[in-house]
């Protein structure tokens, strides 16, 4: 997870304990390896497997809030569980650190952890504050949708879990045609104009359809829609005024957590317009 996205981490650390999830920081856990994939696939696999084997050693299930890291670890799990020869090779490398990949620990993203494990009933019980009547556009982010054969946390063509979570927080989330569109993030280093155009197009579509804002669960997408909002909108000749926040931030607000603890001041988009701050009713 990119370290600049404090707000995501802050809001996760605030909300999950309220729903009975204990967060443990695994010693020695590192980068998932995905950023190196175009240079050295074996190294990426090694790094992912190393992280997975730390979870095996500690006997703790993994919560991977960044969809890209989640995909890297899922992909590694998929390769190691399906290819005995590769598992042997990787385990030979891991042995130098006294680790071994077994693959018995489960892998969660925020969305499936909340929707499938914690359950919507628990969320409804935790809600302390009636949020204003909002219609928020759900944005999932490509990496937790596809490739479906890796076993992703949500359906690749018709994901509904985020909407269900929002509804249990008392927030509406209507379907929209551009829901599955990419944020443009992956193109940023090599094709910045195209990348910003993708971001701008989606922001434009969201405001055109009268949504109050966007909710997402990916730090990369957040970076595009939130931090680069003004530039992105300009690149498609439009002006955007779309509040963008993390699902866990919205959850925290509904649970009555102080917005400063959720890092709401770190969001660059006009989140104040949503009227979410204020006392618990």
């Amino acid at each position: 997870m990119p370290t600049e996205q404090y707000a995501y981490e802050m809001s996760i650390r605030e909300t999950l304990p309220l729903m009975g999830v204990e967060i443990v920081d695994l010693p020695g856990f590192s980068c998932c390896g995905e950023p190196l994939k175009s240079i050295n696939q074996m190294l990426t696999l090694h790094m992912s497997a190393r992280n997975l084997s730390i979870a095996d050693r500690e006997g703790i299930d993994l919560l991977v809030p960044c969809p890209m890291c989640h995909l890297a670890l899922s992909e590694a799990k998929n390769i190691l569980d399906g290819n005995g020869e590769m598992k042997k090779r990787i385990n030979a490398k891991l042995r130098e650190e006294g680790l071994e990949y077994i693959g018995k620990q489960r892998l969660f993203h925020i969305i499936d952890l909340v929707h499938d494990e914690i359950g919507l009933d628990t969320i409804r019980e935790r809600v302390k504050k009636t949020l204003p009547d909002l219609n928020m556009a759900a944005h999932y982010g490509c990496h937790i949708l596809r490739p479906s054969e890796m076993g992703r946390p949500v359906d690749s063509e018709n994901p509904r879990k985020m909407e269900a979570i929002l509804l249990s927080l008392g927030v509406r989330s209507e379907d929209y045609a551009e829901k599955l569109d990419c944020c443009g993030g992956p193109l940023l280093p090599n094709h910045p104009e195209t990348s910003l155009a993708k971001t701008g197009q989606k922001l434009h579509a969201v405001s055109e359809q009268g949504f109050d804002g966007m909710v997402l669960a990916c730090p990369w997408c957040q970076k595009m829609f939130d931090s680069k909002q003004t530039k992105a909108a300009e690149s498609v000749g439009s002006r955007a005024h779309v509040p963008v926040l993390y699902l866990t931030q919205l959850m925290g607000l509904a649970f009555g957590i102080d917005d400063a603890k959720l890092g709401l001041n770190l969001n660059l988009s006009p989140v104040d317009d949503l009227g979410l701050k204020g006392e618990v009713e």
Binding site: S148, D155, E157, N158, D175, Y176, A177, E178, L180, Q209
Partner: protein, 667 residues
């Protein structure tokens, strides 16, 4: 057998160039039980046959070993010769010294040695062979055809015209099937009903056809030549002898225009009592008891309006379900197909917009008897679409859905381009998003060329998504020919869904004891050479129940299946090959391993009471058994023997081949 003749063939020079035929003849003469040994240049010729027959007559041989080519070639020939000459045909043994000896080796000396061993081992087996008799089964000269679509109609007519009695069972109120739903057919643009209705009428009036509509096959017993079938006849609640098909009851019904019409793919509504479509055969009303108010609540206003309206007094609420029992010699299965429900592909928007429809729905919109009387209109607003986009291969050739090609989609879409232009004028924009265009049949490529020449936009690729915002539909398509991403705005999307096995085909196949291929369609006995046969003797398949196909191929396969069935029905009795498996009930432990293995479902468990205890043993139906030997090899108790391949016979052969010093019992 005790008096064995050995006949060695030169096969021109095919055998004699590599095997010293004469030395074999000289040597086998010395073997126990051999009373005659001869060679000839072509044993399979008429002259060769004379040599064998003469030996039967003069030397009185009762067993024969023919050393020649593979038994696949001439075993039937030599069995026939033996039978002609007055010998039991099943005491003939073939020693294959061509494919398995002379053709395969290049040393004359060693080939001769090998041929010698092969012949001697065959002689050892021939000593132990037993004369066998063919069983006989009488044939019931009636046929059952299941499914009243174009395949079932064609098969029924062919069989009935040959003079056989045909029971045609159709589950819907009318015959006609999918073809009746179509407006026009490719590539000739014949009006579908115009070419189908005469055939439906012919079925209805044919003296040899018993038409059983609104009926379903319940169970099947017996085997080739003598099947006993139970058919459930659902009550129509209409006296078919009185009903004139006037339709007064349909107009009168209180549920009028309130029930989705299946024939129009739910695009219009019908009454609870209805006539399936204007050309329905039989043209009689049928009452749907699940939606009829009188059936559901026991009352319908002051009284059922249909009864009031019917001048012929044909409405009969008292009708009960009946079960008919049929006795037939052969069965043609023509149960057809379903179309994939495109809702399973969320990205194409079928469940999100009324203006995303399937080809079959468009066919109903185009049809003059359809919900819009032949005017193509947007289902959402009733307006004329200005732009129509067709998406091919929806679920077809897609490993997440159906891996196979639907074989009718491309041509259906191309045909509908022509029909849409007729209907909406030249100004309508038509986009075709295709994977490949498969225009494989006679006249199809020419048809495609014509459509291509018209003002139609072809994109090669699969759209990633159909985006729907109220009435606005946009499609992202990456065209792999120009390598460009396009966004298409369109008013109506027509999906070409995959052809899939009928929803109940698993249950149906189990009931009929038929196998299915991996895709779920019914399995043919051989894809290339026995496409209408199944693994159950006497049951044939035709049309899309075997796999997707167009009307041309369906009709051809139906006539083929009918002709295969007629081949059985035209015989008074069937001869059964006696080379089958036989169970020794005393040795059988009743473990049922053989039952699960038998590909022909020829083995059944039989319960008997022995010394006050119930014991189970396997019994083989000699008509169904094909003599494949699977059960023989699998039986853990060694209780099953294959006639003509008994253990002692095979062991005698192995004994000779194993032990050269013994030389197979040389005197």
């Amino acid at each position: 057998m005790e008096r064995i003749g050995v006949f060695v063939c030169h096969c021109g020079i095919n055998i004699s160039s590599m095997v010293d035929v004469e030395s074999i003849v000289e040597r086998v003469r010395e073997l126990d039980g051999v009373v005659e040994a001869k060679s000839y240049k072509y044993m399979c010729s008429d002259r060769g046959a004379q040599i064998i027959k003469k030996s039967i007559e003069e030397k009185g041989i009762d067993g024969a070993v023919i050393a020649c080519c593979s038994p696949r070639m001439h075993e039937p020939t030599f069995r026939g010769v033996a039978e002609d000459g007055g010998m039991n045909p099943f005491t003939v043994e073939i020693a294959n010294i061509r494919e398995q000896c002379s053709w395969a080796h290049d040393s004359r000396e060693r080939s001769t040695e090998k041929a010698m061993k092969l012949v001697m081992s065959s002689v050892a087996k021939a000593r132990l062979l037993e004369p066998l008799e063919r069983g006989r089964t009488p044939v019931i000269p009636n046929a059952l055809v299941i499914g009243g679509g174009i395949a079932g109609i064609q098969a029924s007519l062919d069989l009935a015209n040959e003079g056989f009695r045909v029971y045609l069972v159709e589950k819907d109120p009318s015959i006609g099937g999918r073809m009746a739903q179509l407006d026009k057919t490719f590539p000739t643009l014949d009006c579908s009903s115009c070419i189908l209705t005469p055939k439906m009428m012919e079925v209805y009036h044919h003296p040899n056809i018993d038409l059983m509509t609104y009926s379903e096959v319940l169970s099947i017993e017996g085997s080739i030549g003598d099947y006993r079938v139970k058919v459930r006849r659902k009550p129509r609640y209409v006296d078919v002898d009185r009903c004139t098909g006037c339709g007064d009851c349909v107009t009168a019904c209180r549920m009028r225009d309130r029930i989705p019409d299946e024939f129009n793919m739910g695009l219009s509504n019908r009454s609870a009592i209805y006539i399936q479509f204007p050309q329905a055969i039989p043209l009689e009303a049928v009452m749907d008891s699940e939606t009829c108010l009188f059936h559901r609540f026991g009352k319908c206003g002051d009284g059922p309006l249909c009864v009031e309206a019917c001048e012929a007094e044909a409405i009969d609420f008292e009708q009960k379900e009946e079960v008919a029992e049929l006795n037939v010699g052969a069965i043609v299965v023509a149960t057809g197909y379903d179309l994939l429900d495109p809702a399973s592909l969320h990205e194409y928007g079928y469940s999100r917009s009324k203006n995303v429809i399937t080809t079959l729905e468009l066919e109903r919109l185009i049809s003059s008897s359809g919900p819009t009387k032949g005017e193509v209109r947007l289902p959402s607003s009733g307006e004329r679409p200005r732009s129509v986009t067709m998406i091919m291969c929806v679920g077809s050739r897609d490993e997440t859905q159906c891996s196979w090609c639907c074989r009718i989609g491309c041509m259906t879409a191309l045909k509908q381009v022509i029909l849409l232009r007729e209907n909406l004028g030249e100004e309508v924009e038509i986009n075709i998003l295709h994977t490949d265009i498969k225009s494989f049949g006679k006249g199809y490529e020419e048809f495609y060329r014509n459509v291509r020449a018209e003002n139609t936009n072809f994109f090669r690729g699969r759209p990633s998504e159909v985006r729907i915002r109220n009435e606005d539909i946009r499609i992202d398509i990456f065209d792999t020919i120009t390598n460009k991403l396009f966004e298409i705005r369109t008013d109506m999307v027509v999906l070409v869904p995959a052809v899939v096995p009928r929803a109940d085909s698993g249950e149906f196949a189990r009931m009929m004891n038929l196998s299915r291929s991996g895709d779920g369609f019914l399995l043919e006995a051989h894809l290339k050479l026995k496409p209408m046969d199944t693994f159950v003797n006497g049951i044939f398949i035709a049309g899309c129940c075997q796999g997707p196909k167009d009307i041309t191929d369906t009709v051809a396969q139906a006539s083929g299946a009918a002709s295969r069935a007629a081949g059985i029905l035209s015989k008074k009795e069937l001869e059964n090959d006696p080379l089958i498996a036989v169970v020794d009930a005393d040795l059988c432990s009743g473990c049922r391993i053989c039952i699960s293995l038998c590909p022909y479902s020829a083995i059944e468990p039989v319960v008997e009471t022995m010394a006050g205890e119930e014991v189970v043993h396997a019994e083989i139906n000699e008509v169904l058994c094909q003599g494949c030997g699977a059960c023989v090899a699998a039986c853990p108790s060694g209780a099953i023997n294959q006639m003509g391949f008994k253990d002692n016979q095979i062991l005698a052969m192995i004994g000779v081949l194993n032990d050269c010093s013994d030389a197979g019992g040389l005197k």
